[in-house]
């Protein structure tokens, strides 16, 4: 698989961090921001972004803070700070911008649009409505102990070093079994950096360290309900890692929005835009034509 490199690459110092930005299309065109998911990076849009640019957009795909070539994290609680990064990026690009996000990045796009509706014109959510929210079975004390152990692992021990990129491909492929191998290789090639003895992931291990606190389904619903901008949600119809919501749960979430439409994409799992790119592109194009002609 050969995907052309982005047309432009630069760094943006914003909100006390440095974001790596990958760009395509006419710089004077309206901006569309593509937001990757957890542990991924902006190069996951290498197929989709040039085609969105052909629709008449300046497409910008950042590496979120703690990911790719962007700045490191002070703690794992980066949700709000990362959304603030995206808001200030939107201001820099010229609001309102469109936002297309995958998984965690879809949540970021919706949250950014919810907090700053004046900065976001529309949102496309690719399999990122959240988890299926099983009741938390662990006690607060167990979660605190787990959090402490995770922090010790990250703070006091070196990151895992892989002997080769092939080993990382094998690891990533085992987690995301539906991803085509050429795509796994692409994501690994741009998501790893050399280190003594081999390679390490670019994504900051601190991202995995959280602390228990005030969160749960009621909070998640309240946060999602902030979004009033037009929303298109595309979910994979096939069972997959990180894609665990039932149709009924998806319907419940969709009921939180006044201005939203949803489609389940056959033949796709969590990486719906990678497994069925043409279908996703057509749906996104139709949505944009509808809400922002």
């Amino acid at each position: 698989m050969h995907l052309p490199a982005p047309e432009r690459a630069r760094f943006l110092d914003v909100n006390r961090t440095r974001l790596r930005l990958w760009e395509w299309g006419d710089e004077s065109a309206p901006a569309a921001v593509c937001v990757h998911g957890a542990y991924d990076h902006g190069r996951m849009w290498d197929w989709m972004a040039p085609r969105l640019a052909d629709l008449g957009f300046r497409v910008v795909a950042p590496d979120l803070r703690g990911h790719g070539d962007s700045g490191r994290l002070g703690s794992g609680e980066m949700w709000a700070a990362s959304a603030l990064d995206l808001a200030l990026l939107a201001r820099e690009l010229g609001p309102p911008v469109g936002m297309i996000g995958h998984s965690f990045g879809a949540g970021q796009a919706m949250f950014t649009g919810g907090v700053w509706p004046e900065l976001v014109r529309w949102v496309v959510n690719l399999d990122g409505l959240g988890q299926s929210d099983p009741p938390e079975e662990r006690s607060l004390a167990e979660r605190a102990a787990d959090s402490w152990a995770a922090a010790e692992r990250v703070l006091l021990r070196p990151p895992r070093v892989y002997a080769s990129l092939e080993e990382m491909v094998e690891r990533r492929g085992s987690v995301n079994g539906r991803l085509p191998t050429p795509w796994v290789e692409h994501l690994v090639r741009h998501g790893a950096r050399p280190a003594e003895g081999g390679f390490v992931w670019k994504s900051d291990p601190m991202f995995s360290v959280g602390t228990p606190g005030e969160w749960g389904p009621e909070y998640e619903d309240a946060e999602l309900a902030l979004l009033t901008r037009p929303l298109l949600v595309l979910t994979g119809a096939e069972p997959d890692t990180w894609s665990e919501m039932s149709p009924a749960q998806i319907d419940e979430r969709m009921a939180l929005f006044d201005n939203a439409r949803h489609s389940a994409v056959d033949g796709a799992g969590h990486y719906v835009h990678i497994e069925q790119p043409e279908i996703v592109l057509a749906a996104v194009s139709a949505f944009i034509t509808e809400v922002a002609p």
């Binding site: 961090t17 490191r72 200030l88 607060l140 959090s147 922090a151 602390t211 909070y219 309240a222």
Partner: protein, 227 residues
């Protein structure tokens, strides 16, 4: 291993000061020293306070204080003196996590129970308003100053506002707790009364006019001598 009958070591203390307190841990270190605290005194300047630079990435979350505690307490074992952890205002939640994780033998919350209690939608709204305010303050999103007060902290780091979270943590804490409340507490006297029955471990409350370290530390010392 200490032999039977040997006097227990005096407790060490770890203070996680309130975010936004420009002096950082210094007033706490001075107050515990003046009190004659016999154990080790750990009252670090948290990131962005006193002599410590702003955190990596420049934003302030409650978990930062937990990470600081992890760094400070690495290598401690059951052979060490017992640890009392103190959390002030929103750092009270970080101190609670230290205790819940089994890393302390006593917990002191100085206006640190959380509050005011808000509904989930109110808390999400509070977070939204805070983010919008920060985004509109050029100094708060500009690179952090290398020293001195960080303007980002001027917007505050709110305490958690979940009554159910406070009740759940009270029920699960397995160590003695000292609750020091001043007029600056986010919890009203009535709310405190309602929360106290949820504690499963021994809980002591002290009301003070202010939460200044000079006022609070003697109360901590008196409580620590008892347990």
């Amino acid at each position: 291993m200490r032999a039977a009958g040997e006097r227990a070591l005096p407790p060490d203390v770890l203070v996680l000061h309130a975010p936004g307190c420009t002096a950082g841990g210094t007033p706490w270190r001075q107050a515990f020293t003046a009190e004659g605290w016999r154990g080790r005194i750990m009252a670090p300047d948290l990131p962005g306070h006193g002599t410590e630079p702003a955190p990596l990435g420049g934003s302030y979350e409650q978990g930062l204080a937990v990470l600081w505690a992890v760094r400070l307490l690495q290598g401690r074992s059951d052979e060490d003196a017992p640890l009392v952890v103190v959390g002030e205002l929103s750092s009270g939640w970080a101190a609670t996590i230290v205790a819940l994780a089994g890393r302390a033998k006593g917990l002191v919350l100085v206006d640190g129970l959380g509050g005011p209690w808000l509904s989930p939608s109110q808390l999400i709204g509070r977070g939204r308003d805070l983010l919008r305010t920060i985004a509109d303050d050029p100094q708060a999103v500009a690179p952090a100053p290398p020293s001195g007060f960080d303007p980002r902290l001027g917007h505050g780091v709110p305490s958690h506002g979940s009554r159910s979270l406070a009740e759940q943590s009270a029920a699960e804490l397995a160590v003695p707790v000292l609750v020091v409340e001043s007029k600056e507490s986010g919890v009203s006297p009535d709310q405190l009364e309602a929360l106290l029955p949820h504690f499963s471990a021994a809980v002591t409350t002290v009301a003070l006019p202010t939460r200044s370290p000079d006022s609070v530390v003697p109360a901590i010392a008196a409580w620590a001598r008892r347990f």
